[in-house]
Structures are given as C-alpha cells and as structure tokens.
C-alpha cells in the first residue's frame, strides 16, 4: 500500500512472474547441476581417452553457455525486475534485509561468468588438470549462488525467528533453508540428466549416444531419489499450517501437488525408456518430452512453494498484496483510502464510490488477480455476485479459508470495492431494491355463536414458519413438511379439552392439493430420504387432506409433515395456504366445530443473494438450478465433497444425511457439525456486523420481502435479533456447544467470530438447536410484560425440548400455549403482509377481535367470568384486572 500498483489486466494474477520464474528456475537449477556434469564427463573422457566423448562435452558446454548464461542469467535479472514491479514493498524488505546476501551472490555470479567463459573458450587449449579446475570452480560458484538465493527464498516461506529479531543470519538460516538447499541441489542434478538427454540425443555415433543416454538416465534416477528424500525433509520442516495449506486447505494447491507428483512419475518412466536402446528419432522425441516434463515438475513445485505461503508473500509478515500484517489494524480503523499512498480518492461519496472502489481493487486485489487472464481471473470468481453477495464474500475473506488475505479497510470501503467489482468489472446494474408488492389474499372466517356453539376448535402450525428448499434435484435442506396441531375445547363452566370420541380432519384450500406438480420432492425422495412416496403424500404418510391423530405428549391432535408448498395451481407464490380443520363426533359424524388455520410455508430462502441465480417462481421465491448447483460447488470446493457430481448423477443428498439435526431427527455423521451450527457458523463469517439484514438475506423475514414471516405481536417493536442475537451471537451459541462436544471444525468457524450481544465468548451460553431456544419466560418473567425497550431474549434458552413454547402447556396441563397465543413468529395479534388477519382467523372467529384467545374473555370456554388465574399467573389479570401479557 506504499507503492503504486501496476494495473495489469489479462497479464495479471502472477502470469508474468510465473512465465519468467518457472523457466528461469528450470534453467538456473540446470546451471548448477550442469557444472558438475561437465567436469565429471570431461574427466571421464580423459580417462577413457575418448575423443568423441570430449567433443560431446565441448558441444554440450556451448549449449550450456548459451542457455544458462544468456537466457538463465537474464531471466534471473528479469525476476528481480518483475518482483520489484509486482510487489515493490516486499522486494524492498528482501533487499534491505539481505542486501549483503545479494551482494555475496553477485560475487558468485561474477565468478560463475568468468569461470564459464574461461571453461568454454579454453576448451582443448588449456592443460586438462587446469581446465577441470576451472570447471570445478564454476560448479562451486554456481552452487554457492544457489545456496545464497535459496536461503532468501526459503526465508519468504519460513522466516522463523526473523519475525522477532529482524536479523540477517536468523532470516537466512531459517527453518526450511537446509532441506530446501538439499532438494534444490538434487533437482539441479536431475535437470542435468534431462538436458543431457537433449544434447546427447543429437550425437550421431550410436554407441556413444546410447552410452550417454544411460549415463544421463543414471543421473536423473539417482538425483531423483535424493530429490524425493529432500522434498520429504523440506515438507516436514514446514510449519503445520503451511503443510495443510499445500495438501488440504487450498484446492488449487492440491491440484499443483498432483501435477508435481504426476510429472515426477512420468519423468521416471521416460528416464527408463531413454536408457533402452531406442532409435535416434525416438530418443529425440523422448528427450523433448522429458524436457517438457521437467518444466511441468518445476512449475508444479514453484506454484506449490509460492502457494504454501498464502496469504503471505513473506510468511506472517507481508500479505501477498504487499500490505504489511502489522498495518492491518490501522487500515481497518482509518480505512485503506486514508492509509494507502497511491490513491486519489481519499473520501467516499456517491460520486467517487466507483472510482475509489477501483483504487481499492488495485491496492488489495490486483497483485494476485488478473482481469480476464489465464491466472487467478477475478471475473469468473465473482460472476455470480450482486453487490450484497460480493460484499459478503469480501467480508469473509481470509477467515475460514485463509489462503487469501482478509479485506482490510472500513465497511464502506468494502462496499465500494464490491460495487466496483459488480458494476465496474462486470457491468451489472444494481438489482431493483424496494418492497416486493404483496399479493392480496382473502379468507373466510367460519361461523361461531357464543350463545349456542358447544365447542371451540383451536388449531395452529407449531413453528409459525416452515421453510422448504425446493432444490430437490440437487440437495434438500428442509422438505415440505408442515405440522398442524389442534385442540378441541368443550365449553361449559368446567370446560374440557376433548381427547377422545371425536375425529379431527384437515383439508388444504383449493389450488394447493397437488404440490407434486410444483416441486420435484417426490421425484428425488428415494435418493434424499431413502423412500419412495406416493405423489402428494408427505414423509409421515399424511397428504394435503386427512385425519389428525391424538398425541398424548401434546395432549392435542396432530397431523405431521403435511407436504404443502407455497405454489397454488393458479400460479405465483403464496406462503400462507389455509387449511380447514373440522371436528366431528366419532360415532355420529356430526360436525362439532370447524376453523381455519394457516400452514405457513416459504421458499423465500435468499441463498441466491450470494450464490447467484434467480428466483424460480414469480421473481420472489424458489431455487433455480444455478443457485442450487453453486451451493454444492462451493461445498465441494471447501469440504472436499462430490455433492454436485452425485446430484448430477441423479443422487441428490439431504444436508442432514451428514450434518445431524434434531428438527429432522437426523443423526448425521459422527464428528460433523450439526446443521444449524454449520450453516450459521459458516455464513456468519461472511455476514458480520449487521443486524436483521443478515437474517433476512437467507430467511423469509425481510420487511420488504414477499413473506415477512415475523408477523406476530413481537414484530411491532422487536426484531429477529431481540431473541436470537445477531448472526455472530446466534452462530456462536451453536458452535460453542459443538466445540464442547469435541467437534474440531467448530473452532475453525469460531476463530474470527466475535460476540456482539455479550462482551466475551465465555458469556455465550451454548445450546442445542431446536431444543434450547429463546425461552418466552426469559423476557416474560412471571408471565409479565417486559419493561418497554428492555426486552432481550438472547442467551436465555429453554432448558430442553420439553420447555419449548411449541411443547408447553398451561398450569392445568391441558391447554397448549400455542392454542391461545398462536404460532411462534405469529403470536396473536399478528399482521400478515398478504392478508392482514389471515393468522388471526381463530381470535376473530371466536372473539370478534384479533387478540389472544380468552383475553378479557373467560366466557369463551368457561361460559362465565373467572376470578382466579387458571392457566398461568397473569391470566386472571388478562381476564380484566390489569395489564397482563394476554
């Protein structure tokens, strides 16, 4: 950030350094090993008195001179030029730290040139012993050059104690210096065999050519063995975080590792082939092939080594984008535009935002990413994003996947950068923001006569919102599965909850009877759930109409897992389909009571906000293949799975087949994070420092969205975070429990998350999802209304599943809380965005007003006013004596 950044586009992303470095390193290693090859072979020629061999050595020396001194020497200077252009800051650190190391290397370089000139130009003119001495001196100078440069290169990967003391010798004799030196010396010798193959394949005399081919094969194979041992030692000398980066964490590096290993094997085979007495044209062809393999081998190694440093260029000191690690806190505090030198726009305004975003891109991204080039192209990597997704991606950089540096700067700068990538690089227009027009719905309220009706039938959905991932062809997170619960109360001075002798049925409203026509759930159920289901029949055998069954545990009738979807036959998206529930006398079939209830069910899951793709239905909801596939691709990339491949082969999976999840009763796989912990923990890293936006970008809770699932009385003054905490808090509660359970990956997700609702992680109360949820009594102590503005349900979890609002009953143990108060998220009185009183049908049916069942109205069931609180302590006040929760 101190230096100007060369704005490369296609040639960016390390292409220039890769092109120059790989060929240079190839030739320069050869320049070391080749020296030894020349003297040993020359000596052999003298010993054997072989003129043919001697003249081959001389020819090889000419080739060696032209290749190593001209091309090798100048590309070496080229690397120096290049790194100073691409990363001046880091180059400056290397130069200033090791100036006398470079200077010593320069002395060796000079000695190398002088020796090689003398060696070549005095060939046959100098006494053999002296000539050999010159050859040895050449080799010595060349090898010392390697030793010196190797020390500095190894330093970049493992600076070791230098980070503390800044000393030359500590930096030079760093932890990987010695093993790297052995490895590099060995590959220098190995390449000698390769280049020897090349020059000797041109020898006309058959016998000599074959002899040389065998000789070179021996060089290659022997030095390969040393190189392999050196590579292992080298790898072992690296800190564990670099090792895992190379073999595990960075998908790209894993690929280079494979290339490196593949080229090694192929080279060995070729060497053996070379040793066989093949005809000259075949030998020439193999020689060129091996030459190419050597380059691939070198490239694989260099990419691995450089990649292992990620996200640094000098490990733990300077990031790949030249920002020094110790500057990070200041940049985050003051902003990159204020702290970087080579930027024009110091302040962000709507007018400068795009141009400033480009400058930030230059400073933070351009050193590693090309624009439309062959290496690290930013365009395909960001093609799926709109500004929000891009911003979130930047938000999460360098956290869970630490092969990229984190974004450094303020949140506004991060947005400006995201805006530049989306609008400036991809030319995308901003997506139309603003409220989605709600579809107007209507409902009928069934009749009820307070004077004559014998029964009150109460029915509800147990969750208040059930989300469905209709991405069945690729994966399933939640199937269509709504639970309806009902209690029938026989009115009278001593009212009773009826538990026998009646038959309760449910029936979805017209247009929703055929969900199989709208989603692929039934098609893929065998793969996802391991069972074949009749169309329109859900996982527990319930259809869109049927009978409810009495559940002792609830003391209520229930129809579980009804496969309703938010897509009516007439088209569009309706997340609030109505069900009619009827109670009849079991014996006579007489209709005792009838009511209507919403089975809220949404597909407004905003995965597309980051994973790309469009809404599938009506521009409002549902998964397109593009979104669903990207999610799998990202999962595969980060977790080493093959989910996309499996899905495309017709075997989509249920997320919870690996990730345990109490809501589905899924045991998952041992050691893997439970689903809520994994999904919230992962994404929290990308969505920090936000409020409810972080919730509704995924859940259907946006006030501007087509669902707005938080619609109950709590929606008036509270939001998601009041009870659940911010996303970071929410994720930490789940992850902390998993960490306690010994799941290692929890720590990886938690590392960068900071609690916001409480000061420290220690204060976060761990919890099991779906069992330990916000406890109503956390705010409503003694069933009282909390002090205005003080409601805070976070960190006050229910002790277990039995204490959940959806499981609880009143003091009499007969009525369920939800029967009178309504579904969670839709607690009476609710305001439904699509149809104001849709969630209040029962209060209106029985009381003529949208309020808690029985509030100021004990007569509804008791047919008389009551004096004592029967259902819970404040209920009596609710009956008319004061301010209760009602």
């Amino acid at each position: 950030m101190n230096y100007p950044v060369w704005e490369l586009t296609v040639a960016g992303g390390g292409l220039i350094i890769a092109l120059i470095a790989v060929v240079h390193v190839y030739v320069s290693h050869f320049a070391v090993g080749g020296g030894l090859f020349l003297v040993l072979l020359e000596k052999k020629a003298y010993r054997l008195r072989s003129q043919g061999l001697l003249s081959y050595v001389q020819q090889h020396a000419k080739f060696f001179l032209l290749l190593t001194m001209v091309f090798g020497g100048l590309t070496g200077v080229g690397i120096w030029f290049t790194i100073a252009l691409l990363n001046p800051g880091a180059t400056s650190t290397l130069i200033h730290t090791f100036v006398f190391g470079w200077a010593m290397e320069w002395v060796c370089f000079t000695g190398e040139i002088v020796a090689l000139f003398i060696y070549y130009y005095t060939f046959g003119k100098m006494q053999p012993a002296q000539h050999l001495r010159i050859g040895w001196l050449y080799f010595l100078f060349a090898w010392l050059s390697l030793v010196l440069i190797n020390g500095i290169i190894a330093f970049m990967l493992t600076p070791g104690g230098w980070l503390q003391n800044g000393g030359f010798w500590t930096g030079f004799f760093n932890p990987s210096m010695l093993p790297a030196m052995v490895f590099r010396t060995a590959i220098g010798l190995m390449y000698t065999g390769i280049f020897g193959f090349l020059t000797s394949s041109f020898i006309r005399e058959d016998e000599l050519r074959h002899r040389m081919a065998r000789y070179c094969a021996r060089w290659l194979l022997l030095s390969f063995a040393v190189a392999a041992a050196g590579a292992w030692w080298y790898f072992s000398s690296l800190p564990p975080e670099i090792q895992t980066m190379m073999v595990k964490r960075s998908p790209e590096l894993v690929r280079y590792m494979k290339v490196f290993a593949g080229a090694s094997g192929a080279m060995l085979v070729a060497a053996v082939l070379m040793a066989l007495r093949s005809p000259q044209p075949v030998q020439k062809a193999i020689a060129f092939g091996v030459l190419a393999l050597g380059l691939v081998y070198m490239g694989g190694f260099e990419f691995l080594r450089e990649g292992g440093r990620k996200p640094y260029i000098i490990y733990n000191h300077t990031y790949a984008n030249a920002i020094v690690k110790s500057d990070r806190a200041r940049i985050d505090r003051e902003g990159i535009l204020k702290t970087a030198r080579w930027v024009r726009y110091r302040n962000l305004t709507p007018l400068t935002e795009l141009a400033a975003g480009r400058e930030i891109f230059r400073v933070e991204c351009l050193s590693c990413h090309s624009i439309g080039g062959p290496l690290n192209d930013i365009l395909p990597r960001t093609a799926k994003f709109q500004t929000f997704g891009m911003d979130s991606m930047l938000n999460g950089l360098g956290k869970i996947n630490d092969y990229m540096p984190p974004f450094m700067g303020t949140v506004a700068e991060r947005r400006a950068l995201a805006g530049f990538i989306v609008a400036g690089l991809h030319g995308k227009q901003k997506e139309a923001a603003g409220p989605v027009p709600a579809r107007r719905l209507q409902h009928e309220v069934p009749p009820f006569d307070p004077a004559t009706s014998e029964y009150v039938l109460l029915s509800w959905n147990d969750l208040g919102m059930h989300c469905i991932s209709d991405s069945d062809r690729y994966w399933v997170l939640l199937p269509p599965a709504n639970d309806l619960v009902a209690q029938l109360v026989r009115r009278g001075p001593k009212p009773q909850v009826v538990t026998r002798g009646v038959r309760l049925t449910y029936r979805v409203e017209s247009g929703f009877e055929n969900p199989a026509a709208h989603v692929d759930f039934w098609k893929y159920a065998p793969s996802v759930f391991g069972k074949r289901l009749e169309p329109n029949v859900g996982l527990s055998g319930n259809g869109l109409a049927g009978e409810m069954h009495f559940d002792e545990k609830l003391n209520a009738y229930e129809a579980s897992l009804i496969p309703v979807v938010p897509y009516p036959d007439q088209g569009g998206y309706n997340p609030y389909p109505l069900f009619t529930v009827e109670a009849r006398d079991e014996k006579t079939g007489r209709l005792l009571a009838k009511t209507r209830v919403v089975a809220p069910t949404a597909t407004e899951m905003g995965c597309r906000n980051c994973h790309g793709g469009q809404w599938r239905v009506d521009g409002k909801a549902g998964f397109t293949a593009e979104t669903a596939k990207d999610i799998l691709a990202v999962h595969d990339k980060n977790s080493g799975t093959r989910l996309l491949e499996m899905a495309e082969a017709g075997q989509p999976q249920l997320c919870q087949s690996c990730h345990p999840d109490p809501i589905l009763g899924a045991k998952g796989k041992a050691g893997i994070l439970n689903f809520p912990a994994a999904i919230h923990g992962w994404h929290a890293n990308f969505l920090t420092d936000r409020g409810t936006e972080a919730c509704f970008k995924c859940h259907p809770s946006s006030p501007d969205g087509p669902t707005q699932c938080l619609r109950g009385v709590h929606a008036k003054n509270l939001d998601c975070t009041t009870c659940h905490g911010t996303l970071e808090d929410h994720a930490l509660t789940l992850l902390k429990a998993e960490q306690k359970a010994g799941k290692l990956s929890a720590g990886r997700l938690m590392r960068h998350l900071r609690p916001r609702r409480v000061a420290t992680l220690a204060e976060i109360k761990p919890r099991t999802p779906w069992h330990n949820e916000p406890d109503c009594l956390g705010c409503h102590g003694d069933f009282k209304r909390p002090v205005a503005g003080k409601a805070d349900g976070f960190n006050k979890w229910t002790a277990g599943a039995a204490d959940l609002y959806r499981m609880r009953r009143d003091k009499t143990k007969s009525l369920m809380c939800e029967a009178c108060h309504g579904s969670p998220h839709a607690v009476y009185p609710a305001v439904n965005k699509l149809d104001r009183d849709r969630d209040n049908i029962q209060p209106i049916q029985y009381q003529g007003a949208a309020r808690t069942i029985g509030r100021n109205n004990c007569r509804l069931c008791h047919t008389k006013d009551m004096e004592k609180p029967g259902h819970h302590p404040m209920a009596v006040q609710a009956a008319g004596k004061g301010a209760g929760v009602g």
Binding site: V5, E7, L66, P88, I95, M104, R341
Partner: protein, 355 residues
C-alpha cells in the same frame, strides 16, 4: 495532490548509508565503463558494417569476439549498482519503475534478443557475411532502446512531481519524455559510449601491436578517431545537458555549491585533457584522463540526483539497524571471489586465451 505524499516510507538500512553510497558509486563506474564499451562497440560495428567498403572489417571481427563478454559483464556489473541503488533509493526507483513498468520489464526481453544476436554476430561472423549486419543492427538498436529506457527511469525516479500522471494512466506505459534533461542526458551517455568503445579498441590494438601485430595499427587509429570525434561532440552535448537543467540545479554547478562546482571544473578539465590527448593519439594517457573525467562526472550525477530529491528525502532520513556482520561477510567473500577470479584469469592467460 502533493507529490511528497506519494513517496513511500523507506526501509531501514543495516549499516550507515556511506557504505552503500560508496559501493553504489564504485560499482556504477565499473558498470558504466563496461556498458559504454558494449554500446559504443556495437554502434561502431554497425556504422562500419553500413559503411560496407571493407568486406572483412578487422575492427568488427575484434568487436564481434568481445561483444558477448561486454554484454555479460555490463549486466553483471549493472546488478551491483542496481542493488545498492535500491537500498538507498528503492522508494523512488520502485515507484518510477511501476509507472513505466511495460518499458522497464521489456528491457529483459530486449536484452535477451540483443544478446543472442550478438552471439550470432560472433559465432557466425564469417559465415553470415553481409547478412550479419542485420544482427549487429538489431543488437545496436535494442541496446540503444534499453539505454533510453534506463535514462527515462533514472530521471523519472527523481521527479515525484511527475508521478501524479499515474492516476490517469496506471497501466505502466508512462515515460519521462516531458523532462527536458532526458534527451541531452541520454545522448551524453551514448556519445560517451562511442568514445569509450573507440578507446577500448585502441587499447586492444595497442596490446596487439605490443605483441608484434603491425596490422593492429589500423584499428588503433580507427579507435582513436572514434574516441576523439565522440569526445568533441560530447563537449557540446555536455553543455546542452548542463543548460537543460532546471535553473536551481544548474546553479549548483555554477557556483551555488562549492562541491558541485569543483566537480564540474575537474570534470571539464579532465574532458579537455581527454580531447587533447586523444587527438594526439596517446592511448594510455587518454585512458587515464578518461578515468579522471568519469569519476567526477559520476559524482556530479549523484549530486544532481540528491538535489532533485532534496525536497523529499535525505540520507539522514534512513534508519540504521547497525548489523555489521553481513557487511563483513560480504567483504570477505568479495576478497576471496576477486582472488579466485584473478587466479582463473591467470590460468586463462597462461593458456594463451584470455577470458
């Protein structure tokens, strides 16, 4: 925008700056001599080839044999001053290099082509006959181009006020063409190259003469003619260069600074001596006078750079860490290296073939 804000914070140096400045100036003089020989020889060879009267120009044959060495050692002796330049002025040279990155990086490719062409000119001198002109022409043009790029960067690095152009062109395709001193400065180096190369040929011929090769006299005369002619032209270009300097910088050499003025006087006197001795055909005295001119000229160049950078930087800004042991190690390696190189050259000379 204040250009001073663009100048990065320099990194700390290990030993006091005098060490680096000394090493920079010393190695730069070596580089300069080698570069002058390389570029000038190439120009002389090309002009001679284009003159074309002599089918087998003896001078060019000599040049062809030496050119690859001079390129190798120009690069080699260039690495050292560039290293020390980065230590002292890295925060300037890196910036200007990035601003002209495309040209700066192209130096490597241009040099590789120039080098291989020089080798073709050497190895195939006789076989190629007339078409060898193409190769020496490519080498010469590319070397001239490289020189121009270097002149650009060396002037660009000392003008932070010109760096703000980056904001309208960050693509690395800027040059310092608006600097009036660029052209005389560049020509100053090119002309010096022709002079030094002429003298180099004369020295080589002198040695051949000493060994009884009477035919070398022609080369000696030719070399001295190139030398003197170029020096004469240099007087005018030098004056042009001086006049092109911004008045405050020029004034330093015209009495404003005792040190700078003394350098100019010594340099000009030495140059006049070079001219007189050259015209008299005195090879070794000319060489001595040339050295007497080059050293103050190099110091002047350095003083000029410091004057340009004075608003932004002075050596006293550099923090010193005081790590001497690497310097000592370098000095030891240097002495050993020079000894071994001397030994190798002795062996080579004994083999009747110089390196």
């Amino acid at each position: 925008m204040d250009p001073a804000n663009l100048v990065p914070q320099p990194d700390a140096i290990s030993v006091p700056y005098g060490w680096f400045q000394g090493l920079l100036l010393l190695t730069f003089v070596l580089h300069l001599l080698m570069m002058n020989t390389m570029l000038g020889s190439s120009i002389i060879a090309l002009v001679t080839e284009l003159g074309g009267r002599d089918g087998k120009p003896r001078l060019n044959k000599v040049i062809s044999l030496k050119l690859p060495y001079t390129i190798a050692f120009t690069v080699n002796f260039g690495v050292a001053p560039l290293l020390f330049l980065q230590v002292l002025y890295g925060h300037f040279i890196y910036c200007s290099s990035v601003l002209m990155a495309v040209y700066w990086l192209s130096v490597v490719a241009l040099l590789i082509v120039a080098y291989y062409c020089a080798y073709l000119y050497d190895f195939k001198f006789d076989e190629l006959a007339g078409s060898r002109t193409i190769f020496i022409a490519i080498t010469t043009i590319l070397l001239l181009l490289i020189g121009f790029i270097f002149s650009n960067n060396m002037t660009f690095m000392q003008r932070p006020e010109a760096w703000t152009r980056y904001f309208s062109n960050p693509r690395g395709t800027l040059l310092n063409l608006s600097d009036k001193t660029l052209y005389p400065r560049y020509l100053h180096f090119v002309t010096a190259s022709v002079a030094v190369a002429g003298l180099f040929q004369a020295i080589l011929a002198q040695r051949r003469l000493g060994k009884g090769d009477v035919g070398a006299q022609r080369n000696l005369d030719k070399g001295m003619r190139w030398f003197s002619g170029a020096t004469l032209v240099q007087m005018l270009i030098g004056l042009w260069f001086l006049m092109s300097l911004p008045p405050d910088k020029r004034q330093l050499f015209l009495g404003g600074s005792g040190y700078a003025t003394a350098l100019l006087i010594i340099g000009v006197c030495a140059a006049l001596a070079v001219l007189v001795l050259g015209l008299k055909g005195l090879v070794w005295p000319s060489a001595a006078a040339l050295m007497a001119a080059i050293v103050p000229m190099t110091l002047m160049r350095d003083a000029l750079r410091q004057a340009y950078l004075a608003p932004y930087f002075s050596f006293s800004d550099l923090k010193v860490t005081g790590h001497y042991s690497p310097l000592i190690a370098f000095l030891i390696v240097f002495v050993i290296g020079v000894t071994v190189i001397g030994y190798m050259l002795k062996l080579a000379a004994a083999a009747g073939k110089e390196a």
